[in-house]
Each structure stands twice: as C-alpha cells, then as structure tokens.
C-alpha cells in the first residue's frame, strides 16, 4: 500500500456520550480512510455508531479522542464557527427526513446555503434552478415541500446539498423513507453525481440493495468497523 495522504481520515476516533453509569462508547477508536471521489456505504445494526460517525465526518460534532483529518488538515480542534465554515464550503447534507424548510418553495430551500455564503441574489437563483434541473425537478421551482412527494422532496434536499459544489456529500439513510422504486431513482441520482462530478459520497443505509450502488461498504458493530467489502469493478 502506498502511503499517500488520504482525503478523509479517522485516526483512532472515539466518541463517548454521558458519564458514569450512563456512559456510552458510541465510537471505540475507529480508523477509516476515504479517497476523493469515493462512494462509501456505511451499514450496521441500530445503535452501532453510524450516525455518530456521520456527525463527526460532517463536522457537526467533535470526537472525544483521536484525530479527524480533512484534506490532510486536522479539523478536530476547530471552533463552532470554523466547523460551520467548513460545512458551508465543502460539505453537503442529505437526511432521512429530508429536512426541508416547510412553507418555503423548492428554489428558496435550495438557495438557503447560498444565502449564508452571501451569494448575490441573481446568481443564487440561477444556481438553484440549475441544481433543480440536475435532480430532474425542473418546473417544480415554486412547489413547497407539502406539494411534493417524498422522492421529490429528497431530490430537492440533494439539490440543496450540491448547489454549493461541495467536495463531500453526507447522506444518513437518504432512502429510509422511500419505496423501492423511488429509492433506486435516488441512488441512480447519487451515482450520477459521483460519476459526473467526482463528488465524494458517504452514505448510511440499512438496505444491501442501496449499499450495492457504492464502491465500498463498511459495516459498524458496537462502535467498531466490523467488516469491509469492496465491490469488484464491473
């Protein structure tokens, strides 16, 4: 193995919640390396630490011990606002429950990350429309989440995640609320973004069907990586 600096790396990352009797070791010293442009699936039973790992990968949380390297830089000790800047500039999030703003149109939802970046209104709108087209929802610009199906809402959420041109897309059970056909559509969209834009994707899923779309699948158990499986090149 060449000793090239990986794009994203966990070095003995630990996450401990609570104290005393209520102490839970959600991550027990995880080592993990993710290459740029990789599509990684994370599986494992409930409570095995998948979401905890995703939160740290997404700079929403800090490890209790160990180091988290992003693009070679140690981001373990960053402040709240520094982590927010990192998220804003390099990361995109897709959640199981879509997490769109209610009573807010698709375009406005997609524009939101650009608002916080201070992108001018006109450019913001253009980029949002472009992202919406990319996820195949042109014509739904002014629909609110309530007027969209689950699959469509998740597409809007993906458009919102990629409108800033992030390096990494983090998706925690993105198809958890969708039926099989809709789930496959979402996976095809993610695969396309991975192929065409070189977007690094880290996805948590319960379903082997969905994990099959990824280049590599790791399986968590009790805060450890229990197994790792790489898909053979087609």
């Amino acid at each position: 193995m060449t000793k090239l600096q990986p794009f994203i790396a966990f070095e003995k990352v630990q996450k401990i919640y609570g104290e005393g009797a209520g102490r839970v070791k959600a991550l027990a010293g995880v080592d993990l390396a993710i290459e740029r442009g990789e599509f990684l699936a994370i599986m494992g039973p409930s409570g095995s630490g998948k979401s905890t790992a995703m939160n740290i990968l997404g700079c929403l949380d800090k490890p209790t011990a160990g180091r988290y390297l992003f693009g070679g830089a140690d981001v373990t000790a960053l402040s709240r606002d520094q982590r927010a800047l990192l998220r804003r500039n390099f990361l995109g999030f897709v959640f199981q429950g879509y997490n769109l703003l209610a009573r807010t149109t698709a375009v406005e939802n997609i524009e939101l990350p650009l608002v916080y970046r201070g992108t001018p209104r006109h450019e913001r709108h253009e980029r949002a429309i472009e992202a919406l087209r990319l996820v195949g929802l042109e014509g739904r610009e002014h629909h609110t989440p309530a007027q969209l199906s689950g699959g469509q809402q998740q597409r809007v959420a993906i458009a919102r995640a990629i409108v800033t041109d992030p390096l990494v897309l983090l998706a925690d059970e993105p198809t958890g609320n969708l039926d099989t056909a809709r789930s496959h559509e979402i996976m095809e969209l993610l695969t396309r973004l991975n192929d065409e834009r070189g977007l690094t994707i880290i996805m948590v899923t319960h379903e082997p069907d969905m994990a099959a779309f990824a280049h590599r699948t790791i399986r968590f158990l009790d805060g450890h990586i229990e197994s790792e499986h790489r898909r053979e090149a087609a």
């Binding site: 939160n55 997404g58 929403l60 949380d61 709240r80 606002d81 927010a84 800047l85 998220r87 804003r88 500039n89 999030f93 959640f95 997490n99 769109l100 703003l101 009573r103 939101l112 990350p113 608002v115 916080y116 970046r117 201070g118 919102r160 800033t164």
Partner: protein
C-alpha cells in the same frame, strides 16, 4: 443577509398574525399611552397659554399674601389692598396701559322668573382694557358712575343669553344678589377660560357699588396691571413691588406681603403640574413597555422552540452563530417596531379624539414620536437578545433531532 433576515422576520410575523398582535399589546399600550399623553399634554399647554393670554395682554396680577393663588390667610400680613394703594400705583407707575382693582364673589341674578348663578366683579373702567374685553353693545362706566357707586352693570354674553334671550340685555334692570341694577353694556364673547370656566358668565359693576352694597367692606383683593409692552413687564413688576412695600410698610429685612405674578409664571406653574402628571403616567407607560418587552422575549423563546428543527437545518448547512443571532434579533426588532408604530398611531388617534372632545388643539411632537419608535426598537433588541442567543447556540445535531 440583513435584508434576508428582514424578509424572514416579516414572513414569520405574517404567519402568526394574531399571536404577534397579542404579544405586541404591551408595547402598543405603552407607546400609545406615552404618545397620547404627550400629545394631549402639548395641546393642553398650548390651549392654556392661548387662554391665559386671552385673559389680558402683558398682564400682571397683584395679590396680598406670598406665593399663593387666591386670597391669603387672615392677619395683618395678608390684608387686602385699598383705594390708597391703587391711587399710589396709578400715580407712580410708568409703562402701563391700565391698572384695575378687582373684587369678586358669586351671586345669583334674577330677571323676571329666571335666575342664573354668576360671578360678580367690582372694578372700574380700566378693567376692560386690562383684561382685553371689548363691548358688543353699550358702554363702560363713566367716571361719575364709578365715583358715586351707581347701580349699573355690564354683563357677559352668557348672562345675556341666559336671562334676556331673545332680546338684548341692554337697558334692562335685573337683580344682582340683594340689589337691582341697570344693564348699561354687554361684553363681546371670549369663550372658555384656562380652567375650563366660562369667561362670559360674568357681571361687572363699579367697585364702590360692589363694596358698599354687596361686600360691605372696602377691600381690594386683586389689582390687575397691564404693562404697555412685554418688555415693560420686568420694570413694571419691580416698581410695583417697591411701591407696595412702601405703602404696606414692609421693613427692608422683611419678605413681601404680596405677590406680583405675570402670565408666564402662571403658565409655568400650570405646565409644572402637568409635568408631574406626565411623570406619573410615564411610570404606567414604563410598566406597560416592560410587560411588552417580556412579552416579546416570551414569544421569541416560543418561536425558537417551535423552530428548533429549522434552526438545526440552517446551522447544518453552514449558518454561522452570528447569522442565526441576527435573524432572530431582526425578528424581535421587527415585532417591537411594529408594536411601536401601532402604538404611535393609536396614541395619536386617542389624542385626536380627546382633543376633539376637550377642545384641545392636536399638537403631536415629532421628537417624541421618533423617540418612541427608537425606544420600541431598543426594547425589541434588548428583550430579543436572550432568545436569539439561545437559538444561535443550539447544537445542530440535537436541533435536527427535535420533533
């Protein structure tokens, strides 16, 4: 970003119209009370100033006793003036237009089957110049009538209306208390006085007649002096005081046993009473504003809790603490300013209505309106800060998990 926050704030207020309005009640009432109060206060001051100047131009009021309105207590010190005092003032004062003695009391008028309660003043012809009265009909007293104490009188418009309608009162004979007298003149109407009194409800007769036949004494409780111009007032005041000290034999180390007041003093006395009232009402308004501020804090806390998930989303996609703080601060600001604007309009409307019914001029003060607007904004920022900071400091992970 500020503009976005402003738009969001308006949206959020619109989505909860009823709740927002209820929340703002405290600020609306507080600001409304201040604005109404100050506007009515200004109107009253304006009105009092106008009315008092109607009483006579450049008028000085000389009364026995010190620093009191009305007659002073009994005793040598506070004894009334007399003819000698009046004569000396008339002989020695310069820069005056008119000097008039005045003694008044309540009396009932009877004419035919009608009777009417009024105030009778005993004085002489200079009274009309001193108090700026003009004649609608008839004439002032002649010197002869004044000297001999004839049973003649001059009536105000209200008296004429009450007793002689539809005729003129001129030439009629009526009873004033225990005496009868002939009406030789009718005064032109002056309208309401500074204290809401009807200035036209008055009967004027020669001082001698009044003293001999109504009062039974020779006292002169008040002397009116009308200075020739406003610039003469200080000099006239000074010489009046000097003459009176002489006449009343006040020793050099003793205080005056009389008071010389001009209108500006009386106006400032009246304004100072209304300042006291204003202070009191301000306290009430202050409490309302405090309640309003707490209302805003409360509703913002509710809003932060309700929108915890939304805040989590915003933080997750890269909003900085400062940006979330700004958003909620602007929302509190918009709410409070809205309350301020509604309060200002309400207060002005209230002052307008009160002015209409109390016949007070509508005198809004721009500086107070601007101040009230800024102050309500400050309340919004002050009381909105804590909830906004709470929103900004939410943990995005927990916020996202919030139902």
């Amino acid at each position: 970003m500020l503009w976005e926050a402003f738009k969001l704030a308006l949206l959020s207020v619109r989505r909860n119209v009823l709740r927002s309005i209820l929340t703002l009640l405290g600020i609306v009432i507080g600001v409304g009370a201040v604005i109404a109060m100050v506007t009515i206060g200004n109107g009253t001051t304006q009105r009092v100033t106008e009315d008092l100047s109607k009483l006579g131009s450049n008028l000085l009021i000389v009364q026995p006793g010190r620093n009191t309105f009305g007659p002073g207590g009994a005793g040598q010190e506070n004894r009334s003036f007399d003819d000698r005092t009046l004569a000396k003032l008339r002989a020695e004062l310069t820069g005056v237009r008119a000097i008039a003695p005045s003694a008044t009391r309540a009396a009932t008028l009877i004419y035919g089957a009608l009777n009417f309660a009024t105030t009778v003043t005993g004085t002489d012809s200079e009274f009309f110049a001193a108090q700026d009265w003009s004649f609608a009909q008839g004439r002032p007293f002649t010197d002869g009538e004044v000297k001999s104490g004839s049973a003649v009188c001059i009536i105000g418009k209200s008296v004429e209306d009450a007793l002689f309608t539809p005729d003129s009162g001129l030439g009629k004979r009526m009873r004033v208390g225990t005496i009868s007298c002939d009406v030789i003149g009718v005064l032109a109407s002056k309208g309401q006085g500074a204290f809401g009194n009807d200035q036209d409800n008055t009967v004027v007769m020669p001082l001698r007649t009044y003293q001999r036949r109504l009062a039974g004494n020779t006292r002169i409780p008040t002397i009116y002096i009308s200075a020739a111009t406003a610039e003469d007032i200080p000099a006239v005041t000074a010489s009046t005081e000097q003459i009176l000290r002489e006449v009343r034999r006040v020793g050099p180390d003793k205080d005056d046993t009389f008071t010389v007041r001009d209108m500006s003093q009386i106006i400032s006395t009246m304004t100072s009473t209304s300042t006291l009232l204003t202070g009191l009402l301000s306290a009430v308004a202050g409490v309302s504003l405090l309640v309003g501020g707490i209302g805003i804090m409360n509703i913002m806390l509710v809003s932060v809790t309700e929108r915890t998930r939304e805040i989590g989303i915003r933080l997750a996609i890269g909003a900085l603490e400062r940006q979330v703080l700004t958003q909620f601060l602007v929302e509190a600001l918009v709410l409070a300013l809205l309350g301020g604007v509604i309060g200002i309009m309400l207060g002005l409307a209230l002052a307008g209505a009160a002015g209409y019914f109390l016949a007070i001029p509508f005198a809004p003060s721009l500086s107070i309106i601007v101040l009230a607007f800024l102050f309500s904004g400050a309340i919004g920022l002050g009381f909105g800060f804590f909830p906004a900071r709470r929103a900004a400091r939410l943990d995005p992970i927990e916020a996202l998990r919030h139902e």
